[in-house]
């Protein structure tokens, strides 16, 4: 792999993260004809997923737990020429940093966010997250998770994300295609990736049985929300995509020679 670094990969053999790493690096390699690799900046959260920053030879910032979206935003506002891609965990994004996710979607910063959704806190050894099913027996919920899981797709659609998709880490060809579309999409692109965790929540079999592509892409946000809420199988593909003005287009001020002296004159 051209984008490999020297870092030794420390994910469990069979972890869904390998699929995400493979699909992403392939997507970037395919895009490299159009975009200089130097312009990529990756941001990762804290969890097993967060280690991905060490495994890809692109600029990166491995930040703290839950804070991927504001970091993407700060980088993009500083230099809109950079292509920013975030990697977050479900605990990272749907628990610790949920508030940032919602606001990043509303704000429509031109960034891509990939959530490694294994429905478990991997790195802290198997507690329930916001997407763990009810009844999930994690190490902190020995009698089963008493909480209803969150629906990230519906949440992102309702929050105004301009590109919302779900993928499966076991289908890297599809994931690669969606990642490419997401990166090229101007605005906030959100991909929830179903990522089996072989050690604490092995969903390989479940997802292989249940994952189905969206048959007919929804034509409106409302339809997309309905679809996101309805499925009994797990649907993958793009739920919704629209173009609208981005955050940086609206709020970023070009650097210029600051007229501090003139302003002080005005304060007289």
């Amino acid at each position: 792999m051209r984008l490999a670094t020297g870092a030794r990969i420390v994910w469990c053999p069979g972890c869904g993260n390998f699929g995400i790493l493979k699909a992403f690096t392939q997507a970037v390699e395919e895009l490299s004809a159009e975009v200089e690799l130097e312009r990529f900046v990756l941001v990762s959260g804290v969890g097993c997923h967060g280690k991905i920053a060490d495994y890809i030879a692109l600029s990166s910032f491995h930040t703290i737990h839950g804070r991927v979206p504001p970091l993407l935003t700060g980088i993009k506002l500083a230099n809109p020429g950079l292509i920013v891609v975030g990697f977050a965990g479900d605990g990272d994004m749907y628990n610790e940093g949920l508030v940032h996710l919602i606001h990043a979607a509303r704000r429509n910063i031109d960034a891509t966010l990939i959530v490694h959704n294994n429905s478990v806190y991997g790195l802290t050894t198997g507690q329930a997250t916001a997407t763990s099913p009810r009844g999930f027996r994690g190490r902190s919920t020995p009698e089963g998770n008493p909480e209803e899981p969150l629906n990230p797709i519906a949440l992102m659609l309702a929050s105004g994300a301009s590109f919302v998709a779900r993928c499966f880490a076991g289908d890297t060809a599809h994931l690669k295609q969606i990642v490419k579309r997401a990166i090229l999409h101007r605005g906030f692109s959100f991909i929830d990736v179903l990522q089996p965790c072989v050690t604490f929540n092995n969903t390989w079999k479940l997802y292989k049985e249940k994952v189905r592509p969206i048959e007919r892409p929804p034509e409106s946000r409302e339809e997309a929300i309905k679809l996101a809420c309805s499925a009994d199988s797990v649907l993958t593909g793009i739920f919704y995509s629209e173009e609208r003005e981005t955050c940086e287009e609206q709020v970023r001020i070009e650097a210029r020679h600051a007229s501090v002296k003139t302003l002080i004159e005005k304060l007289k």
């Binding site: 280690k51 935003t73 007289k268």
Partner: protein, 544 residues
């Protein structure tokens, strides 16, 4: 010449605005002005006041006693009466046994202006009382409100002529010099940071830092600063870290509660060696405390902020000019040493508006240590003697940054030797910062005398005035981290006091820790700033 007047009413009466407009009349005439505002955390009702002090000498604080109260509500009169000679009041609203009766509300009604415009009539009368041509006030209104100033001007003229026929002048105030700039501590700090290259400002509203958010937002284009109000303080701090990572100078502004939320980000900036300037404007805590009042309670908090150990640069300015210089210095130092810096403001400085002589050219963007080698050879965390590794940014280099312990390239490590080496590299910067601060004004001394009063932040203003009266020397500790031990440990003096607005004596304990200095604490923790009038007897007690 040195005199004071007050404006008071309820929230919604435009008390602060009236105080600042009045202040501007005098700053236009060449006087030094200091406007202290008191208000409560509510939008209508309650009790607001603006204390305006005018002098031929530089001002850093207000005085309690003065000439006049402009009373917009009857219930404010008993609060202020004992501090003033006379009361000018809205006689259309209430009556007083004695005082200067001005039918402000009737005038406002006659001009079909909303009631809040009655201030203009009061300020017109004020012009008469101080022997000032009302045209000076009219021009201040024109400059502030443009076309919309019409009614203010009509009302100012009405108040002026009414007063001229009935009231005796208090003083004759003449033009003594060129107009002076009038701004608050936050605004001044913002401008200092802009001079040092600030490009992004991130802040969530919180008194008393909010005036900077408003100021930079309204002037963002002419200053070339991107201003964003994100979802919370955590986001603000992380956005600033993102911008700085990408090579752009960024700052956040908040108060103690917001800074508490930023702890983990602050620590990240320390570990990842990201330069960000944090403006922390203190107010009384704990918790929500007295949200609109004054305190200096967060010194220890800021010195120990963030988990883990890493160098930080902390400084606290004493007045509006100092805020400009220190904000600029700190942003430059943060970039030079690639570590977070805190400009520790306090409510009295942040929100008091004062005339300032700002030497704009004294602050410039100082370039950090930049990497000049080949992109492929770049090591973000190159281990050096000074601890400072050259900076480079994407897309020029592949930049690897992390909040985990890392090797020179920026990859995560938990190797013992590597971790220790990187830890030591970061901590070596502290020594380098100290060497730099030895060349700067880490403390400032005012006056002379065998006895010394230590202080910090905006308390310095009142302390200087009180000390002048008593022949004491004042030492303002300007840089607080690294603590300027080298300045205090050999200081010669007979007796020492320490004046600060907290309960435990946070500076006093630092003086003891770093300089073996036993200073008698003069604390204040009622949410009010010290004034010279109140300090003189307390200092006299200590040094008698």
């Amino acid at each position: 010449m040195d005199f004071t007047f007050r404006v008071s009413g309820m929230a919604g009466d435009g008390v602060k605005g009236a105080g600042i407009i009045a202040g501007k009349v005098f700053s236009r005439l060449g006087y030094h002005v200091f406007v202290h505002v008191e208000y409560q955390s509510l939008i209508r009702g309650g009790h607001n006041a603006a204390v305006v002090r005018v002098s031929t000498q530089k001002l850093r604080c207000h005085r309690k006693y003065g000439d006049l109260l402009i009373a917009l509500q009857d219930y404010v009169v008993p609060v202020h009466r004992r501090y003033v000679e006379q009361v000018l009041f809205d006689s259309s609203k209430f009556t007083l046994k004695e005082g200067l009766a001005l039918p402000m509300s009737e005038f406002a009604a006659q001009t079909e202006a909303p009631p809040v415009f009655r201030n203009a009539a009061a300020l017109g009368a004020l012009c008469h009382l101080y022997g000032i041509d009302v045209e000076v006030l009219n021009q201040v209104y024109r400059d502030a409100y443009g076309e919309k100033a019409e009614k203010d001007i009509v009302l100012a003229e009405m108040g002026y002529s009414y007063a001229k026929k009935r009231f005796e002048r208090i003083r004759e105030v003449e033009q003594i010099g060129r107009p002076r700039a009038l701004l608050d501590g936050n605004q001044s700090a913002g401008l200092g940071a802009v001079r040092a290259g600030l490009r992004c400002y991130y802040a969530y509203p919180m008194t008393p830092s909010t005036s900077l958010l408003h100021f930079l937002a309204s002037h963002r284009r002419e200053l070339g600063v991107t201003v964003v109000q994100p979802e919370n303080e955590i986001s603000a701090a992380i956005m600033a870290i993102g911008s700085a990572f990408a090579g752009t100078r960024a700052m956040v502004g908040t108060s103690g509660g917001g800074f508490a939320l930023m702890q983990e980000a602050f620590s990240l900036a320390g570990m990842a060696e990201i330069p960000v300037l944090f403006l922390e404007a203190q107010r009384p805590g704990p918790s929500t405390g007295l949200p609109t009042w004054h305190a200096q309670q967060d010194l220890r908090f800021v010195l120990h902020a963030g988990h883990g150990e890493f160098p930080r640069i902390v400084a606290s300015p004493c007045d509006v000019e100092d805020a400009f210089h220190l904000a600029g210095e700190l942003l430059n130092l943060a970039w030079r040493f690639q570590t977070p810096a805190v400009l520790l403001m306090d409510r009295y400085l942040s929100e008091s508006t004062a005339t300032a002589e700002i030497d704009v050219d004294a602050v410039k963007e100082e370039p950090p240590l930049l990497y000049e080698g080949e992109p492929e050879d770049y090591r973000r965390y190159l281990i050096t003697d000074s601890g400072i590794s050259p900076l480079a940014f994407p897309p020029r280099v592949m930049l690897k940054v992390t909040g985990n312990e890392h090797d020179e390239l920026g990859y995560t490590t938990d190797d013992a030797a590597q971790s220790a080496a990187m830890y030591e590299k970061r901590m070596r910067k502290e020594k380098a910062i100290e060497e730099e601060l030895r060349r700067r004004q880490a403390v400032r001394t005012f006056g002379s005398g065998r006895d010394v009063v230590f202080t910090w932040g905006s308390s310095t203003g009142a302390v200087i005035e009180a000390a002048e009266e008593l022949g004491l020397r004042v030492v303002q500790v300007r840089y607080l981290s690294p603590f300027p031990k080298w300045e205090v440990e050999h200081l010669e003096f007979e007796r020492a006091a320490c004046v600060e607005c907290n309960y435990t004596g946070q500076l006093a304990s630092l003086l003891k820790e770093h300089g073996c200095i036993e200073a008698e604490l003069i604390p204040r923790h009622d949410g009010r700033p010290f004034t010279p009038d109140e300090l003189v007897p307390r200092l006299r007690e200590v040094f008698s």
